[in-house]
Symmetry: C2
Subunit: 247 residues, 2 copies
DNA sequence: CGCACTGTTGATGTGCATCAAACAGCGTGG
DNA sequence: CCACGCTGTTTGATGCACATCAACAGTGCG
């Protein structure tokens, strides 16, 4: 399907090698034989119903999870019940990286729709990675990429106003859908306004108003959860002042 | 200086095995022999003058850096010049983890005072980690811990008011100094009010006012950059509603 | 169909940003 | 030695962006 696919994997049936999100998760850059070995880690994929938890804060780390189908939010909940959404995850993205630190999950992962994941047994993954340098390297990069992403979110929370945050959010989703092979201009939000708000450090009403602002500027057309981006460049300009740069 | 290639740990002069921050960085849990091998990665420690950059955004990743003496801030700068401080780093803490992702640094690291670091050549570290499972495990945990820390910051930015943020900041520093063997009630801020503000998503004036509030409540005594925590429990209660918990 | 959930829009309030001014510390040079 | 400028801190006055409160409309599911 893609040129990044390693050789002779077409007969593998159950895991990474015929997984549609192959190139986005751990196996990228591995040879067919190496993928085959990674394959052995994956006991069996499973489904998670909408609104069900894939894991919860404090659950012991058994596996990392690659999202195959559907989408998830990860969130922390304070003792007084306030939720902070820390991320949204679409197919091809990894869940559970924050659990490696203390060997227990540090957030909740909730399915935003009926979804399916590839569990990757972590202890076995670490063991296998000892013998597969490129697998280890990919895991390192995956962890580091999450750190970079979080730092961008801190920049957003610290320096952007509400409209800029919303624009940045939509652009980010757009890019990730694009990488996945979906339309970058036309997609569906699987999360509620309140969850977007929590993620961006805003109230749900502010999200609604931000949507209205972007619509009035002709940048997007958003009806309910259906998004059409009408002026990608305009959106980028809106966020432009806040991107990091050299020096 | 490329001095010794010693065989026994007690003879080592230049690296991990006699480093005062040994237990906090990568070598934790390694055997003496393993530390010796890690040792070979460290070409030579070096000093960074106050206000000088250890690295800058876009610099190629050569090494990770363990802070030995002094302190650093890491920050991203937007094209219109606004700075977002993404972290402060004291001795025993690692710098440069966000560079693994793209093999170039994603932020600036600036010394807050005259400081000293241990560079750890990353390519060699990865290679060595192939043969030292516990070293690889420590690196994984280090990366994951940074992710957990960033998620806590997102919670802070999304859900806490200015006084709570400041209290959380002081408590966090206090705990880290405590781990390092320094006083948890009595320490010096090496950064300016403006940098604290950037880190917490607030203006410097708001930091000053927050300090006044905490002082008026008898929680702390802060004069310039000298901090004395007078009511640790009170500070914790102030932040309490915002800590993550099970479920 | 009806009820619960989600989203939209308006009116009002407030926490923090912004603007402004004074002060403290500190090194420099007359 | 003090005068001076520079940087960093503190405190006050004012304004604004977003939160909060409230009413209502749209959506979907039992």
């Amino acid at each position: 399907m893609l040129e990044t696919r390693p050789v002779q994997v077409q007969h593998l049936k159950a895991a990474c090698s015929n997984c549609s999100v192959l190139e986005l998760c751990l196996p990228i850059g591995l040879t067919g034989q190496e993928v085959e070995r990674l394959n052995t880690l994956i006991v069996q994929r499973f489904k998670v119903k909408k609104d069900a938890a894939l894991y919860r804060t404090g659950d012991p780390l058994r596996s990392l999870y690659a999202v195959r189908i559907g989408s998830f939010k990860t969130s922390m909940v304070s003792v007084d019940g306030r939720e902070q959404v820390t991320g949204f995850h679409i197919p091809g993205e990894m869940l559970g990286l924050d659990a490696i630190s203390a060997e227990e999950h540090a957030c909740n992962a909730i399915a935003l729709e009926d979804s399916e994941v590839c569990p990757i047994h972590f202890a076995q993954l670490e063991k296998l990675a000892q013998n597969l340098p490129s697998l280890q390297h990919n895991l390192n990069r995956l962890l580091s990429r999450e750190i970079v992403r979080d730092h961008s979110m801190l920049m957003l929370m610290g320096n952007m106003n509400s409209d800029e945050r919303l624009a940045a959010f939509l652009l980010n989703l757009s890019q990730r859908f694009s990488i996945r092979g979906y339309s970058s201009r036309d997609f569906v939000l699987k999360m509620r306004r309140e969850e977007i708000g929590s993620y961006l450090g805003l109230r749900l009403e502010t999200i609604c108003r931000g949507i209205a602002h972007l619509r009035n500027q002709g940048l997007v057309e958003i009806a309910g959860r259906d998004v059409k981006i009408q002026n990608m460049e305009g959106l980028k300009q809106l966020v432009a002042g806040c991107n990091r740069h050299q020096s």
